[in-house]
Amino acid sequence: MQYMMMFYETEAEFAKRNSASESPAYWGAWTAYIGELNRAGIVVKGDGLLPPSAATTVRLANGERLVQDGPVTASKEQLGGYFVIEVPDLDAALTWAARSPNLATGSTEVRPVLPPMNPTGQ
């Protein structure tokens, strides 16, 4: 089954990416983790994302298009990246999620990927 692991990071965690003293440990942990995901041969696809300050949100308000700076919701933890992995079951997906480095301060959401639609509708 395919699961998406969504890595949520705190603002402080995002800030480590560009901090001279903390970025080596930050990127080192992610590089090691992603290296293991790849070596396990379970990665379908995955990317890191630029911080939420780089996000732009579009919505309709009273029928008018509204474009705003920032992510959809202003919460303490924001999406920092994702991986779709192919593993036998949720237990296996959670085993990998439990190793994600953002857990020190953030959280990781695991969700099954919607299976491909059956064109005959059966």
């Binding site: 983790y33 237990d91 480095p101 020190a104």
Partner: protein, 414 residues
């Protein structure tokens, strides 16, 4: 007469104390005649709720256990009467219910029998430990779930399914026949071990602070040792967990992970170590060795080497060899390789690591920590050591441990 909030708090404490002390005893006792774990749990839950309600007003009864037993049984009878489906159960309950006077003084302790049922081979081994934690200690599914890396909903469903299965396939809540006893006993000890360090197959060499329910597992093992004082492995298991637990405070300094060799031994819990030593000595007198006694003996020797400064490398290697006879798990094989390296050099340890099954070690974090350590000791720090450390970092769960390994990686340079 009005009772102040102080006496209410006292009653609540009495109820909570009774809960820890009596929950498993009550459940183990009632479930023998009722055989429906979920129904008995509900009844006991209501009895405790009523106790918290009425004891502050009426005072704590002289025998809280007996009070709770009567209340829970009344509740079971009421539920049975209101359910035609349960009529068979009611009949069997009425047949097997002992006289009131018989149990008023002391509830016979049937928790061992309950543990045997929880760890029955007819149930999936992965549910043994959660069932035991819930039925013997009264822990909620929420509390148990995270340490087994599943959601509370999932854990709740798995527990419910197991309880239905116990009822439907008619497992009895009695001790096994003598010829099955050793095998059934190892089911019980394995489940308690799993509760302590869920996920690792060798808890001793690793940091388990975010896993497992260590205090609860120690409690279960204590119950087991009291129930079967003649069983050497039960004592070995409790000793092993006490040794590991005694170092809990020393494993962290300012949030940093501290490896065994660098721990401040003044921060070890001396009383806990003394209890463990006493248990290990008692188990040894029985001349019936097993994996848990050997693992405890390894812990004892490691602690001695730090405390007395004596060279324990030879006995440690012998103990690790012995352990492999009983439990050649991947964790124990890695432990053996490290013991070998300590005595005969890093090269010998690496040779031993190289013989291990590649598919088993690929995702096993302690293997890569050990490999990096030995490569470093051999002086071939360079690329292979870095790669092994990076694998270990990528497989780490605990932030403090990951940070520790990252510092080591940085110190390797390159």
């Amino acid at each position: 007469m009005s009772l102040g909030p102080g006496s209410e708090a006292a009653a609540r404490r009495a109820a909570e104390h009774a809960a820890r002390q009596s929950y498993g005893r009550l459940l183990a006792y009632l479930v023998r005649s009722w055989r429906d774990v979920a129904a008995v749990e509900d009844a006991i839950g209501e009895a405790f709720a009523r106790a918290i309600e009425t004891w502050p007003l009426a005072g704590v009864p002289a025998n809280p256990d007996a009070w709770l037993l009567v209340a829970a049984r009344r509740r079971l009878m009421d539920a049975a009467r209101s359910s035609r489906v349960r009529s068979e159960g009611l009949r069997s309950l009425l047949v097997t219910t002992p006289e009131q006077g018989e149990e008023a003084d002391m509830l016979p302790d049937k928790r061992l029998e309950l543990m045997f049922t929880c760890a029955h081979p007819a149930l999936d081994p992965s549910i043994h430990a959660p069932l035991m934690l819930q039925t013997v200690l009264g822990l909620s599914a929420e509390r148990i779930a995270s340490s087994f890396l599943v959601s509370p909903d999932t854990m709740g469903r798995r527990l419910s399914r197991a309880k239905l299965r116990i009822r439907d396939i008619g497992l009895s809540f009695s001790a096994p026949e003598p010829e099955h006893l050793p095998q059934r006993m190892s089911g019980v000890t394995d489940a308690i071990y799993a509760a302590y360090g869920q996920g690792w197959d060798s808890i001793a060499s690793d940091d388990v602070s975010i896993r497992g329910l260590s205090e609860e597992a120690i409690w279960l093992a204590t119950v087991l040792v009291h129930a079967v004082p003649q069983d050497a492995e039960a004592q070995g298991l409790l000793a092993l967990m006490l040794y590991c637990q005694s170092r809990a405070a020393a494993r962290r300094e300012d949030g940093r992970f501290v490896p065994f060799a660098e721990q401040d031994i003044a921060r070890w819990d001396a009383a806990m170590i003394a209890s463990a030593e006493h248990l290990l000595a008692r188990s040894g007198q029985k001349r019936d060795p097993g994996r848990f006694q050997l693992e405890a003996a390894i812990q004892s020797a490691m602690i001695q080497s730090r405390v007395t400064g004596r060279d324990m490398r030879q006995p440690l290697l012998a103990l690790h060899r012995g352990l492999l006879q009983f439990a050649p798990t991947i964790g124990n094989l890695v432990g053996h390789a490290l013991a070998l390296a300590n005595l005969e050099g890093a090269g010998a340890g690496l040779d031993a690591l190289d013989t291990l099954d590649a598919s088993k070690v690929a995702g096993y974090q302690p293997y890569w920590v050990a490999r990096a350590h030995l490569l470093e000791a051999l002086g071939t720090a360079g690329k292979p050591a870095r790669e092994a450390l990076e694998k270990a970092i990528g497989l780490s769960e605990e932030p403090a441990l990951r940070a520790h390994l990252q510092r080591r990686l940085a110190s390797l340079g390159g």
